[in-house]
């Protein structure tokens, strides 16, 4: 259900203008919000939204035209959208106040499984097992419960469930999209031939 356009004021008429309007909206967001969603809600062209967010980000980082010191928070584009974060330097302080969301470190097995799914998605458990050389059912269940992987589809032939990474996974890696994942080819001699061998 969307509000009537007439009731939403033009951000330019408000004190602080579009920049302040974006700050106000992002203050209540509990997930990354895309440029497009912001453009729609504020009835402002996407290009203008992006430019304004970029300059806000620079300002918070203390590198804007006005200079200044970094703020304690930062604006970041990760997981396909914009969101406020506490600045990394303050982590020890922040952790004293925020108990939830402190995720324990993932095991090596979980990280490897996550890596295989990230680069081969959508992919079945059997395929991941073949690449890692061990049964991965338990690990995948954990990664799904952690919100890092999701069941996205079924293989049309085998009917096996296929897994992919989630936007939350991108956020945890500080990436905006899967294209930003580090290239795997330098780690993979003869990568072209390998696809034939996958079990």
């Amino acid at each position: 259900m969307s509000a009537e356009p007439s009731t939403v004021p033009d951000p330019d008429t408000l004190p602080g203008g579009l920049a302040a309007a974006l700050e106000a909206v992002l203050m209540v967001a509990d997930r990354p919000v895309s440029d497009f969603d912001l453009a729609e809600v504020l009835s402002v062209p996407v290009a203008e939204i992006r430019a304004t967010l970029d300059s806000l980000r620079a300002e918070y980082d203390g590198v804007g035209p006005a200079g200044g010191v970094p703020r304690g928070f930062e604006l970041r584009k990760v997981g396909g959208g914009w969101r406020f974060y506490s600045r990394a330097e303050f982590a020890p302080l922040v952790q004293a106040f925020v108990l939830e969301g402190q995720t324990s470190r993932l095991s090596q097995a979980a990280m490897e499984t996550l890596a295989v799914v990230a680069y081969r998605q959508p992919v079945s458990r059997a395929r991941v097992s073949a690449i890692r050389g061990v049964n991965v059912d338990g690990v995948i269940r954990t990664l799904v419960a952690r919100g890092l992987l999701a069941e996205v589809d079924r293989d049309p032939i085998s009917g096996a469930l296929l897994y992919a990474t989630t936007p939350y996974f991108l956020e945890k890696l500080g990436l905006d999209s899967l294209e930003e994942l580090p290239q795997i080819s330098p780690h993979l001699p003869g990568v072209d031939q390998l696809d034939e061998f996958q079990g």
């Binding site: 209540v28 690449i131 338990g138 009917g159 780690h187």
Partner: protein
């Protein structure tokens, strides 16, 4: 896994693994990991690795595991056996005179070697990249995303909830939510199709139901309900797979005599433990090439 790696790195490969070897399935990193450890220890380039040293050591390692550890650890270590078998094949291949690979079997062995190398290289690449990802996550975890409850003033604006669920329906939803944990389906039923796929895994599950009472069953009784010859064949293959997984014991008094099967796996055994080559039914025209181990499409 740390325990395994540490042991490989420190060269404690001879029997004498009592120094706290413990396998937790969650962290069990598998044969590729151990192989990479061995290769690293010998400072060999894995593209040109001389197999014999690694093979001997690997087999020694598996043997040590078998001698020294509890049935639970053995269970986890069973994953090694598939790789050990491949390595044995490779070792045999190495004994063949060089250049004489016109024999079909020789070729197959050489291909097995290439396959193992390819998989090992692939595994190494993912392992490398997983370290990079772990670094990113560590750096990233210093930042905390804003995620706060909605102000009551905004929450109160949400449209009034339309609720048509009765307490009984609600209880049913709860019952289902608790139940899903118990059985997460891994395959879609295809029985409604004209012909249906027979997989070793499915047949292994069928067998489990028949055998779970722990009594000794004759093979004939196990196939009494089979709908087709293909089901009989795949069920027989499933028994071999179960045997390889130590889920059943077999007894046969004389050649061509009745084959007696006894269930021996733990109650938490599932067909997921069988090697993954089985969960991909193949199309009928692939049958010959794929061999009987995978699956077959049953026409009617």
């Amino acid at each position: 896994m740390t325990a395994l790696v540490a042991e490989v790195d420190s060269g404690e490969l001879s029997p004498g693994l009592s120094s706290g070897f413990s396998v937790e399935l969650e962290n069990f990193a598998g044969p590729f990991e151990v192989l990479l450890g061995l290769i690293g220890k010998h400072e060999l380039d894995i593209t040109t690795v001389a197999l014999s040293a690694v093979t001997d050591e690997f087999i020694e390692y598996v043997r040590a595991l078998r001698l020294e550890n509890s049935p639970a650890a053995l269970d986890a270590a069973s994953e090694f056996l598939v790789v050990a078998a491949t390595l044995l094949d490779l070792k045999a291949a190495r004994l063949l005179p060089r250049g004489e690979v016109d024999d079909e079997e020789d070729l197959a062995l050489l291909e097995a070697r290439d396959l193992l190398f390819a998989r090992l290289l692939q595994y190494k690449a993912f392992k490398d990249v997983s370290h990079l990802m772990a670094d990113s996550m560590r750096t990233e975890s210093a930042r905390q995303a804003r995620s706060v409850p909605l102000d009551p003033e905004f929450a109160s604006l949400l449209p009034e909830l339309v609720w048509r669920t009765t307490p009984e329906q609600f209880a049913e939803i709860a019952r289902k939510a608790f139940e899903t944990r118990a059985e997460i389906p891994t395959e879609v039923g295809t029985d409604h199709l004209h012909g249906f796929a027979v997989t070793v895994r499915q047949e292994a599950e069928e067998l489990r139901l028949l055998l779970e009472d722990g009594a000794e069953h004759g093979f004939r009784s196990l196939i009494a309900q089979a709908e087709s010859v293909l089901v009989v064949v795949v069920r027989f293959l499933a028994i071999l797979e179960l045997f390889r997984d130590r889920a059943v014991e077999l007894r046969q008094e004389a050649p061509l005599d009745e084959l007696w099967v006894t269930w021996t796996a733990d109650s938490d055994w599932t067909s997921d433990r069988l090697s993954d080559e089985h969960d991909r039914p193949v199309l009928p025209e692939d049958d010959a090439a794929a061999g009987p181990e995978t699956a077959a499409e049953v026409g009617s």
